[in-house]
Symmetry: C2
Subunit: 466 residues, 2 copies
């Protein structure tokens, strides 16, 4: 039987996101990002379309590589202003029952002890519907504002990340036994102290002697997302990630990435199918092909090349202001640049992208393909991409929001459901169980699970105190 | 005309809070603290009673002074488990329109750059209804888990706090001019970059060269709460705080604290009435006096002395396990201990409290008075306390939640309204304007306001893009 197709929505607590300049489109409402109702309405739309999750990107800095300043980013609202993503989740959780929430948080910017509490809190409040997109660092501008001269070297960041994860795994998995919370009114015991353990972590970067402050949440460890595609990032994802976001402009390149991630999982002692992989895409659809194409042309007209170059310069670390729009891209000056620019390579290796072409490409939906057509045509393309690459679903960027997502929910989801390729209701349970079908907690051979102390099984009391 | 009486609700994202052991009461629902509906229901109750705000306390550590371990705190759920307070606000904000939210956040535990973004985000999402309770440090157990040997010395903490505030003031007040955000679709300008300024902060503790990541929120700087009563803390409050929480067991002591804070404000160049002062209290009421007394006796029976001693030991730094319950309290071993124990002194200076008496006193409602009676009797006491001490209102702890708050809203608020001493509806506008009546932003002579650049006045465009 054909594998089901899964959808995530890709957004950010900012104006625009992956379609720089599109905030100017008369139907775009991303300028409402600071209004809670914008987000609760979006969450309800996505839940009506059985989306796995709303995935919130984040940066703690500004895109200031282009022209050596943040001016272009500010002028075109290229992911600035940008608000905190975690604080959107509780209101959306209150408005929904099944939608998951993936939140980006860089472990370079906060100590693991308070961060572990934040995520446990979100996991409690969402009833087990939260995921953490593990980011190891990002913009130099963020590092500078935290008092560091620049972000750490790429590989050293991953070593730091390994210890950070060890600390939070210990807090989430090892500190409180399953039966520790008794809520026994008669016996005067809320928590049995003999079943709560200091983690006594003493490592190179962190010393955390104490107990976790939170009682176990539905998932304990939140679902772990990752987006790394560098060799070191892929190994990290293969070891830790339960869901991975990737992007590529062609099926062949995407398939290579998928194979690499699944191999990395196997190399880390896990199963290849134990990671859900979402490929980034933008869907532009309407009830007829002609209307979809008109919509696509309209969106393309609203792409702002300067805005796109500000984004591209930030991603790659290369100031594209020094190049003409017609200049071919030859320069690959550093590792980040290589990674980002690799995503513009098409199946035709002889194709040389110009600066302007690259800008217009990332200017609509970021680094993935744009799938245009009536619902049937889009469904055909989705099936083709999924079946040929081995991904499990799509991380859907928007051209305009919530318009792009509404189109998908109203037009594409029913078409896929008709074809038997899309869920018609949610699986009960936590986000982890919905995605992987193996229960609420990390599976036994996940590295985080090793910290879950092998305590004698005890009955967890019902939620209501006795 | 008699001054109006204001109410705040005092709670925490934990089981119990200021009434250790009361979670065992059959009507207490604080065990639902991890359920969003518990908080949205509470917020609606408080808003129906025209409360100024729900004030959320927080600790990032555990009470482990008693018996040198966290066992008693765990057993009796003495503020552990405890979840993050900030994450409760968005869901409650979505459910309400006027209630304010005061959140406790210690500036010892996070860099000001991401923290400023969190608070701006909350101020946007609540439409200007958020306040920050500035805490400069707290439990040693928290400091240890952040990799520090212990929290900084008391006065040094306030120096650090001064620089921390300078950084966040610059981010909130100075970085984005009022007219910086244009949202001009035709002109292709979301933000005018010439009106967004790097703060270029370089101090002893922090270097923050860049711009704030958020566009100005309704209040810019959130309403500033403080609770310090040490001499250094009082000077800090006099300079920065717009609302202050204090607690004392007698009117005479409370009045001294009030006078001290208002004098500190004047000494800092502000007006004495520019700070709203809330005295902590617990109200136990019912439709008849007899029923109120029965309720009070019932609550008292549920106080757990060991739980109260765990709390008291954490507050004072003195391990009361070394004393018999009948021992008089003579030992005042350190500054924190002196401060906390001073609050047990009554108007009768010859009265010597025993350990057990002190435990039973803090065991119900914490460090403030317990006002028991029918609605008229409670209203009489509230008027007396307010008129004799110069406070502006009460920070109401609970014996059981939401029961205590429901009783106040249903019984005491109508009685006070009948007497013309309590608002019958909310003032429009932000939390700051509701409380102080002087507009949304910091007043001109507040130290944070000095960072608000004197830029030429420009019209702020309407929210909807042009």
């Amino acid at each position: 039987m054909a594998r089901p197709i899964r959808f995530n929505a890709f957004a950010m607590n900012t104006v625009g996101h992956q379609s720089p300049g599109l905030w100017r489109h008369p139907e775009d409402e991303s300028w409402r990002y600071a209004d809670l109702r914008f987000w609760t309405e979006l969450a309800l739309t996505l839940e009506a379309g059985c989306f796995d999750a709303l995935f919130l990107a984040d940066v703690l800095g500004v895109y200031d590589v282009y022209q050596g300043s943040a001016d272009a980013a500010l002028r075109h609202a290229v992911q600035v202003p940008t608000n905190d993503p975690l604080l959107l989740v509780p209101a959306m959780a209150a408005a929904t029952t099944d939608l998951g929430f993936g939140v980006t948080f860089s472990l370079s910017y906060e100590h693991p002890y308070p961060f572990a509490r934040r995520m446990s809190t979100l996991d409690h409040l969402t009833r087990g519907r939260v995921g953490w997109n593990i980011v190891t660092g990002y913009l130099d501008s963020a590092a500078r504002n935290l008092g560091l001269s620049q972000q750490g070297a790429h590989d050293a960041r991953y070593d730091y990340a390994e210890e950070y994860l060890e600390v939070v795994y210990k807090l989430w998995e090892a500190s409180w036994e399953d039966g520790a919370v008794r809520r026994d009114r008669q016996g005067r015991v809320y928590t049995d102290p003999s079943r709560v353990h200091p983690i006594a972590h003493a490592g190179e970067h962190f010393r955390v002697p104490g107990i976790h402050l939170c009682e176990p949440s539905p998932q304990r460890t939140p679902l772990l997302y990752q987006a790394g595609t560098s060799p070191r990032g892929r190994a990290f994802a293969g070891k830790h990630a339960e869901a991975v976001f990737i992007s590529a402009p062609s099926r062949a390149i995407l398939k290579k990435q998928v194979d690499g991630i699944r191999s990395a999982a196997v190399a880390a002692g896990r199963r290849a199918d134990e990671i859900r992989i979402y490929g980034q895409a933008l869907i532009v659809t309407a009830s007829t092909e002609a209307e979809a194409q008109r919509k696509f042309a309209d969106y393309r007209e609203h792409v702002d090349v300067e805005a796109a170059l500000a984004l591209l310069s930030g991603w790659t670390g290369i100031d594209f202001a020094g190049y003409g729009h017609g200049d071919p891209i030859r320069h690959i000056e550093n590792d980040a640049g290589r990674t980002a620019l690799a995503s513009f390579t098409t199946d035709d290796p002889s194709r040389l992208w110009t600066v302007g072409e690259a800008a217009r490409f990332v200017g609509l939906g970021g680094r993935g393909p744009v799938l245009v057509g009536d619902p049937g045509q889009v469904a055909d393309q989705l099936e083709g991409w999924l079946d040929e690459t081995g991904i499990d679903g799509f991380n859907l960027a928007f051209a305009i929001t919530p318009g792009t997502f509404r189109d998908v929910v109203e037009l594409v989801v029913p078409e896929l459901q008709k074809r038997g390729r899309y869920a018609t209701s949610y699986t009960a349970g936590t986000l982890r169980h919905k995605l992987l079908g193996q229960g609420d907690h990390l599976p036994p051979h996940h590295p985080g699970r090793q910290f879950h102390a092998a305590h004698p099984a005890t009955a967890t009391p019902s939620k209501e105190p006795a």
